[in-house]
């Protein structure tokens, strides 16, 4: 099969206008007069709707206009000469407006010369702003239509009536002053429109050269090419014509009848009837859903799909075929995790790798490899599915022809080979809410049937593995591949443009593992160290000196091992999430401030898990938590991206996550119900806290009932009571939580997860171990249900803690039935909120995107819309790309100073 002979041109601009009768005739290849398609032999009738001059859809025939065959000929327009003009429904309202605004005698717009001059100036000022322009045009129309005497020729004007869809009346007066209605036929309307001079047209919203008003009344009808309305041959051999063809047949039939009647001098009444019928057919041909017109039906009763129906709606040409279209070279399947592949890789199932192809040009450097692949054919990986010869012929590879094709393969051919490891592909998960929803990955062909992805890239895609599916696309040209590689690869998106910090980073076990590795007192033997470094893919020649030797056994601290992954020369310090005692951080901070690069031994003496100090790529103090390389606030990761580049950051992230996973799997990490065990003593203290709180609540209620409660400013007495009770109960829960925290240390896995930021909050542990606390709806204590009480288990009017949704039990101790119901009430609000929120924010996002999608930053730094209207004189007011910013700021001055100092120090 030969490729279609395409003329390669670049679209410079697009203009919209109305086709003039001359233009329609000029672009027409044939006048169509016969209301028929094929003759009895199934051959296109000349002058019929399937005329060979309009292109051909039957294999074997040649187009009489361009001489090309089926599949090559793009088709050509024809035309129908209408016996009488008809209104174009799409312009019916516009015609009405124009008629109302202009004089019925001289055709001038019914405005005085001054007004014309004034409005012309305003129109110029308004420029391309559509809303303002429409408003101005409406204003002009309103003014002009009310003039009952033409200011130019002095002719009296009559009011007009418009009857949907295409009937116009003029309300005239006879000599006696009696009103009567005169029906204006399209001929008369066309005459009037013709009289409007070009210079008045801008005020009517028309362009004099591109859209003369009389062209809105059709005298000639274009007939779309056959290729636009192909007939389908059913298995039974019967031809079924396209809906458009059916409609055109109707039009031609009536048109011919009208013509013969006019020629025969038939009575006016009959002619007008036929004229209206022609109008009906042309109307439904253009839009079969015009209000006030019964839709034209197919024989089966199905309404016909005519021109407007082809364009409109979700499945229409615009939304269905132009804004969005189905694509080739794509795949979709379920995703599953693989911690062993890099963050910029994607595991592709073998079956998909053999279906998707990449075109590769044959050169002297790859001919042997490609010949081998062609020889493998489509069924053996790594093979190829198609070859393209230098003439551009695409040949499908089959078991039968693969040897022959491999033989013929030469430089200048192209091979559509299977996906190979390292190919660049685009990976996407819906909803595609931000740029990180589509990123470029490198292929890793794997067995089984799911896409595999590294866990660190779950957050940008918002993916999990409970059945999520994702899409994959293969860029086909070198340009597209290069663009994807340079702009879209995962490591380029570690820093999010949303807040200028990392969005890709370690999650969950990566954080817990990092903590277990680097906390004070974590030491590993030689075999452990060797294993974990091998697992993480760290390539070093020699281990550093052991940190300590006990009983002849060498031990390395986790900090030393972690340091092996850090780039050389990296110096940074920060307080992390584990820092709950500032006094332990301060001596270190002071030391650093004084000496900048203090003696490592000195630091080690002061080392505290809550304060991280890395000197020249050596972790000297502090444990790793979410602030190190977690998503959203990974400081170390952030610095590595900015000072050592995205590639180094990718390598660091790959290694550090694997290292953490090794540690966590080999040390063992789990959480069970006994993680929430509290000693008797603690439970007693919690119970005492609850008892006290309830007592205080009761005292408040008594004070309220006795009228002794002072209202807070701006609140009623009841509101004051509520807020005071809520404060007391919140305090009680916090205190109980603190008690629980005291008894649960950093050897408790749940606490490790909460404190390092790996998963969950301390609050969650409190709710499991101590008590759930107050349940609320819309920030208030529960109060709805029965009259004066939430559940029938309480006395009406009981304002006590337990009666209004305060839960004194914990998840572990178990809830009472009443508490369980309260909990469900609070939980339901959460569910409703998320449902409503996603719906609302989704709609808001859609509106915002629609409003902002065409804005761009110009080379001069301004933000403009496509017509050049300025929105911002400098992007974001400071012209800074948020992705290159430091947490939204242009520069991190402090870091710049520190780096300069470090550089100075290094020189010395």
């Amino acid at each position: 099969m030969r490729e279609m002979q395409s003329i390669k041109k670049v679209i410079g601009s697009i203009e919209f206008g109305i086709l003039s009768p001359q233009e329609i005739r000029k672009m027409s290849a044939a006048e169509i007069t016969v209301p028929d398609t094929y003759d009895d032999d199934g051959y296109p009738i000349e002058g019929g709707l399937m005329d060979k001059r309009l292109g051909v859809i039957d294999p074997g025939l040649r187009c009489e206009t361009c001489g090309a065959r089926y599949g090559e000929c793009p088709g050509h327009f024809g035309h129908i000469e209408l016996a009488r003009p008809v209104i174009h429904v799409g312009f019916a309202k516009t015609i009405y407006r124009i008629l109302e605004s202009t004089c019925r005698e001289c055709g001038r717009i019914k405005l005085t010369e001054e007004e014309i001059k004034d409005y012309m100036k305003k129109l110029e000022l308004v420029g391309d702003r559509k809303k303002a322009r429409d408003k101005l045009i409406r204003e002009i129309h309103k003014k002009a239509k009310e003039r009952m005497v033409c200011p130019h020729c002095g002719a009296p004007q009559f009011p007009l009536k418009f009857e949907r869809p295409t009937i116009y009346w003029e309300v005239r007066k006879d000599e006696l002053g009696n009103e009567y209605r005169h029906r204006m036929m399209p001929t008369e309307i066309r005459d009037r429109l013709e009289r409007i001079p070009d210079r008045d047209l801008p005020l009517l919203g028309l362009h004099p050269e591109k859209s003369r008003p009389e062209w809105m009344v059709l005298t000639v009808l274009p007939v779309p090419p056959v290729t636009v309305r192909p007939s389908i041959t059913l298995e039974s051999g019967i031809r079924a014509e396209d809906d458009l063809t059916h409609k055109l047949v109707d039009i031609l039939r009536i048109n011919n009848r009208l013509k013969t009647n006019i020629e025969a001098g038939a009575p006016q009444l009959i002619i007008e009837d036929l004229w209206d019928l022609l109008q009906y057919h042309v109307t439904t041909y253009i839009n079969n859903e015009t209000s006030g017109v019964p839709p034209a039906k197919h024989k089966s009763g199905r309404p016909l799909k005519t021109l407007a129906q082809r364009l409109k709606g979700k499945e229409g040409r615009f939304r269905g075929n132009l804004s969005g279209k189905r694509v080739n070279f794509s795949a979709r399947t379920v995703i599953s995790p693989d911690p062993m592949i890099s963050i910029n890789e994607v595991g592709v199932p073998l079956a998909i790798a053999m279906e998707l192809t990449v075109p590769e040009k044959v050169t002297e450097f790859n001919i042997e490899k490609l010949r081998e692949m062609v020889l493998n054919g489509p069924e053996k990986y790594p093979g190829a599915n198609y070859v393209i010869d230098p003439q551009g012929r695409r040949i499908k590879l089959m078991e039968s022809n693969k040897e022959k094709m491999a033989d013929m393969l030469d430089i200048g051919w192209t091979v559509e080979r299977h996906l190979l490891d390292g190919d660049i592909v685009l990976f996407n998960r819906q909803p595609s809410l931000h740029r990180m929803s589509i990123m470029a990955h490198r292929v890793r062909v794997m067995p089984y049937k799911t896409f595999r992805l590294n866990l660190a890239v779950c957050p940008p895609y918002n993916a999990d593995f409970d059945g999520d599916e994702m899409n994959l696309h293969v860029p086909q040209t070198e340009e597209a591949q290069a663009e994807a590689r340079i702009l879209m690869e995962v490591q380029n998106h570690i820093i999010s443009p949303r807040y200028g910090g990392p969005i890709i980073g370690g999650i969950q076990d990566h954080i817990s593992g990092g903590y277990l590795l680097t906390r004070e007192g974590a030491y590993f033997t030689r075999s452990e160290v060797e294993q974990m470094l091998m697992f993480a893919g760290v390539d070093i020649d020699k281990l550093p000196e052991p940190d300590k030797v006990e009983n002849g056994v060498e031990y390395w601290s986790g900090k030393t091992i972690f340091s092996l992954l850090l780039p050389e020369g990296l110096t940074i310090w920060y307080r992390n999430k584990l820092c709950d005692d500032p006094s332990k951080c301060e001596p270190l901070e002071k030391l650093i401030e004084e000496k900048l690069l203090p003696d490592p031994e000195e630091v080690k003496k002061l080392a505290y898990d809550g304060f991280v100090y890395i000197q020249n790529g050596k972790l000297l103090s502090g444990a790793i938590d979410k602030k190190a390389y977690g998503r959203e606030d990974g400081k170390i990761l952030d610095i590595i991206v900015r000072e050592y580049g995205v590639e180094r950051a990718r390598q660091f992230l790959d290694q550090v996550t694997k290292l953490a996973i090794w540690v966590i799997t080999h040390k063992g990490f789990t959480t069970a119900i006994d993680d929430e065990d509290l000693p008797e003593e603690a439970m007693d203290r919690i119970k005492e806290i609850i008892r006290e709180a309830e007592e205080r609540v009761n005292r408040l209620i008594e004070a309220y009932k006795a009228g002794e409660l002072e209202p807070l400013p701006g609140k009623t007495l009841e509101e004051t009571l509520e807020s005071k009770i809520m404060a007391v109960l919140a305090e009680a829960r916090d205190n109980a939580g603190k008690v629980a925290e005291q008894y649960l240390g950093m050897n408790n896995f749940a606490v490790i997860m909460a404190k390092t930021g790996a998963r969950g909050k301390i609050l969650n542990i409190t709710q499991m171990a101590a008590l759930l606390g107050q349940q609320s709806i819309r920030g208030k204590r529960l109060h709805r249900g029965y009259r004066g009480r939430v559940l029938s288990h309480f006395k009406p009017g009981d304002l006590g803690a337990r009666a209004r949704g305060f839960i004194v039990n914990s998840y572990k101790s178990g809830l009472t039935p009443q508490e369980y119901f309260f909990h469900a009430m609070g939980g339901r609000e959460g569910l409703v909120d998320t449902a409503v929120r996603t719906a609302q924010s989704g709609y808001m996002q859609r509106r915002l995107i629609n409003a902002l999608q065409d804005l761009k930053v110009d080379y001069d730094g301004t933000v403009r819309d496509p017509t050049g209207i300025i929105v911002q004189f400098r992007y974001g007011e400071d012209g800074v790309d948020p992705m290159k910013s430091w947490q939204g700021k242009t520069v991190d001055v402090e870091r710049v100073i520190v780096r300069s100092l470090l550089k100075l120090r290094a020189k010395r």
Binding site: L125, R129, T862, G868, I870, F873
Partner: protein
């Protein structure tokens, strides 16, 4: 047109500085951004700040705003009829 007696809106801390550009400055601005008048952001003549300044349609107003990202940020708007 003139501001209401006794109340100067520009004295309010939330109202940024407004200034009418001279003819030369107008020329320069349009040349700097290579734009037509119609491509400037608009402000209606009935806008309180415009009325207080006494600007007429066709004037360009320079607004000096405080910006959290850039410190000072100049914005230009063409006065249009309501």
């Amino acid at each position: 047109m003139a501001a209401k007696k006794g109340f100067n809106i520009f004295a309010h801390e939330l109202v940024p500085e407004h200034r009418i550009l001279s003819e030369e400055e107008k020329e320069e601005l349009l040349k700097k951004y290579k734009i037509k008048i119609s491509q400037l952001p608009q402000i209606k003549a009935k806008d309180p700040a415009v009325q207080a300044l006494g600007a007429k349609p066709g004037d360009i107003i320079e607004i000096k705003r405080k910006s959290p990202t850039a410190g000072v940020y100049y914005y230009y708007r063409i006065v249009v009829e309501d």
